[in-house]
């Protein structure tokens, strides 16, 4: 993992989320609910499904274009993301060898079909998570979760964490840079140096927490955190939710791809 790049990406996603487009203006609740609905619908397909998944690419395509999100940035992130699904999925062709498809005379085993299906689901679900955060500010998502009855302590924890990530990551960045400058080749990057580095970082963290606490106390903190911003569901939100729901049901229930394919066949 490249430290500077990771940090840059984090900041860039944050910047993206403050754009002002049709998608960004929707209420965070709408986007959270719609994203979850999309993910659940996608993973609910049985394991050999390929054609049924294709229509769902409409969602990322529309959010990319309507939300003005740089496609390559997100795609690159999806590609380098933790590859556990791919790693596990690649075993499918080894264990499931009976033929399921005939691709112009080339037999394709069920394992490859299900592996491809996993890849498509992987792409769709990862994309929707990243698109959610690049079209909705993180505090916005927290407010949405709060409105959806997630316990308050967890919400304030998320907000606190998010605020201090940038502070602490920069502190860590300086420490890592110092370590790298003092180390040569593999030397100096070992585990004992790492433990000392983390230990120091941790002590600094605790001391910082103490300072923050005193600062909060002197500003009248008494145990509860108050929120000022109030989001309201507007007409656009209801329309969006309704349309998303309808389209999801349509895509899940009817095999549009085969339908279109058959119509085209009939024409030619």
């Amino acid at each position: 993992m490249d430290f500077d790049k990771e940090y840059f990406n984090l900041g860039f996603l944050d910047t993206l989320s403050y754009k002002d487009t049709v998608i960004h203006r929707l209420d965070p609740r709408t986007k959270v609910i719609a994203t979850f609905a999309l993910i659940i619908t996608v993973v609910s397909f049985p394991k050999y499904e390929i054609t049924g998944l294709i229509p769902f690419f409409l969602f990322p395509a529309m959010i990319f274009s309507l939300g003005d999100i740089p496609v390559w940035f997100i795609l690159k992130k999806v590609m380098v993301v933790s590859v556990f699904a791919v790693f596990i999925g690649i075993f499918n062709p080894l264990f499931d060898t009976h033929v399921r498809l005939d691709l112009f005379g080339i037999p394709v085993s069920g394992g490859w079909v299900s592996f491809f299906s996993i890849l498509m689901k992987f792409f769709l679900t990862m994309c929707s998570a990243l698109l959610l955060i690049s079209t909705t500010s993180f505090p916005g998502i927290c407010h949405a979760l709060q409105k959806l009855r997630i316990p308050e302590i967890f919400i304030s924890q998320l907000l606190f964490l998010y605020r201090y990530i940038f502070v602490l990551v920069e502190e860590t960045l300086r420490m890592v840079r110092a370590r790298d400058l003092r180390s040569f080749g593999k030397k100096g990057r070992g585990i004992s140096i790492f433990v000392n580095l983390i230990g120091t970082l941790f002590i600094r963290t605790i001391e910082r927490a103490d300072r923050i606490y005193h600062a909060m106390l002197s500003r009248g903190f008494s145990g509860t955190i108050y929120y000022v911003k109030r989001d309201r569901l507007r007409k656009a939100d209801f329309v969006c939710l309704f349309l998303t729901g309808m389209v999801l049901i349509l895509f899940r229930t009817y095999d549009l791809v085969s339908f279109i394919g058959k119509q085209t066949e009939r024409i030619f």
Partner: protein
């Protein structure tokens, strides 16, 4: 290792989410009951610490590969189980959103796998009893090693179970276990040493800090072992019940595939009461009309490769061709919509 959306079925994902949300609610209640307000900034900043520390790489001795910190156990030792679980959940939430680590449906599983085991099993049942007799560096090392090891093994085993119950992967149980557990053994040893190292470093450098935190955290005194075991047992039974019930009523995974290919379910099914109802609902909502059955009425499309057809009885060339054609059309349509919106927007500005 993070569980992934693509390997999950909705039922498993939702069940684990329910368990995770329940635990978050329970922990929040516990923290609120005896809140030291000092904890709120402390939890936030230690979360950020874990996040930042996970981004630092180090070289694993002997292998040359690089590893990074997990951190669940450090949190549990410093903050106590309830606060540690909330912090771990928040860190994983942010990772799921910003790095798409695993995905949003799998987030429930990931919080469960990486949060529950270190906070509610390894810490109270292993770490605490060992260290209680005296906080010497050696004891801390042994306690950390064992508790981290147990926490990670349980987490890895849950990943295996969640994947298998979802039925998206073909890996046989034994192979999967043989693959996951040794990897996490190696990770566990490294993580155990780091955990012990950080705690010992703190004890040596600023012992008063460690103590003051331990004093201020909620519920540092007794958590009853019996109670934990009992709660876990109940959770296991409920989860097992729900999952197995769904697994038997939903023709998911392989059964579903068999049904689709042969046109009727191979295995005899009980069709009474709720089972029949669910099946009716499933058929109404999830059945893909005209996919396999219609093809059988139109035999003239079956004339592609002649002799091989007996060898692979479940291959249907007609469906494949219309599938490919339709897919291409669909992708074209989607791209058209995407670029169309972009073009219109550009014109507008």
């Amino acid at each position: 290792m993070h569980m992934s959306d693509a390997l999950l079925s909705p039922v498993v994902g939702a069940t684990l989410w329910a368990g995770t949300l329940g635990t978050i609610a329970y922990c929040s209640k516990k923290i609120k009951e005896n809140l030291d307000e000092k904890m709120i900034p402390l939890m936030g900043v230690t979360g950020a610490f874990i996040f930042a520390a996970q981004m630092v790489n180090f070289t694993i001795p002997g292998t040359g590969s690089s590893g990074h910190l997990g951190g669940g156990m450090i949190l549990a030792i410093i903050l106590g189980p309830y606060a540690a679980f909330i912090v771990m959940a928040s860190v994983l939430t942010i990772q799921a959103l910003f790095f798409a680590d695993g995905g949003l449906l799998a987030l429930g599983c990931n919080i469960w796998n990486l949060g529950i085991y270190p906070c509610f099993i390894a810490y109270p049942l292993i770490y605490k009893p060992i260290v209680q007799k005296g906080m010497t560096p050696k004891r801390i090392l042994i306690a950390s090693l064992i508790s981290v090891f147990v926490g990670l093994q349980l987490g890895a085993f849950s990943v295996v179970l969640q994947t298998l119950l979802s039925g998206r992967s073909e890996l046989p149980f034994i192979t999967f276990v043989a693959l996951m557990q040794p990897i996490h053994f190696a990770i566990g040893v490294v993580e155990g040493f780091i955990t012990a190292g950080v705690i010992n470093y703190m004890r040596a450098a600023r012992p008063e800090l460690l103590e003051s935190i331990v004093d201020s955290r909620p519920l540092s005194p007794e958590i009853k072992t019996k109670k934990i075991v009992l709660v876990l047992l109940v959770i296991v039974i409920i989860t097992g019940g729900i999952v197995s019930w769904f697994a038997s009523t939903n023709p998911d995974g392989l059964e579903w595939a068999i049904e689709r290919v042969y046109g009727k379910p191979e295995l005899p099914e009980q069709e009474t009461g709720i089972t029949a109802l669910l099946k009716a609902v499933q058929e109404r909502t999830a059945f893909l009309p005209g996919y396999t059955f219609k093809k059988k009425e139109v035999p003239k499309e079956q004339k592609i490769p002649g002799g091989d057809e007996n060898a692979w009885p479940n291959v249907e060339a007609g469906t494949t061709i219309s599938g490919i054609l339709g897919s291409i059309m669909m992708i074209g349509l989607i791209l058209l919509v995407g670029f169309g919106i972009k073009a219109i927007k550009k014109k507008g500005t």
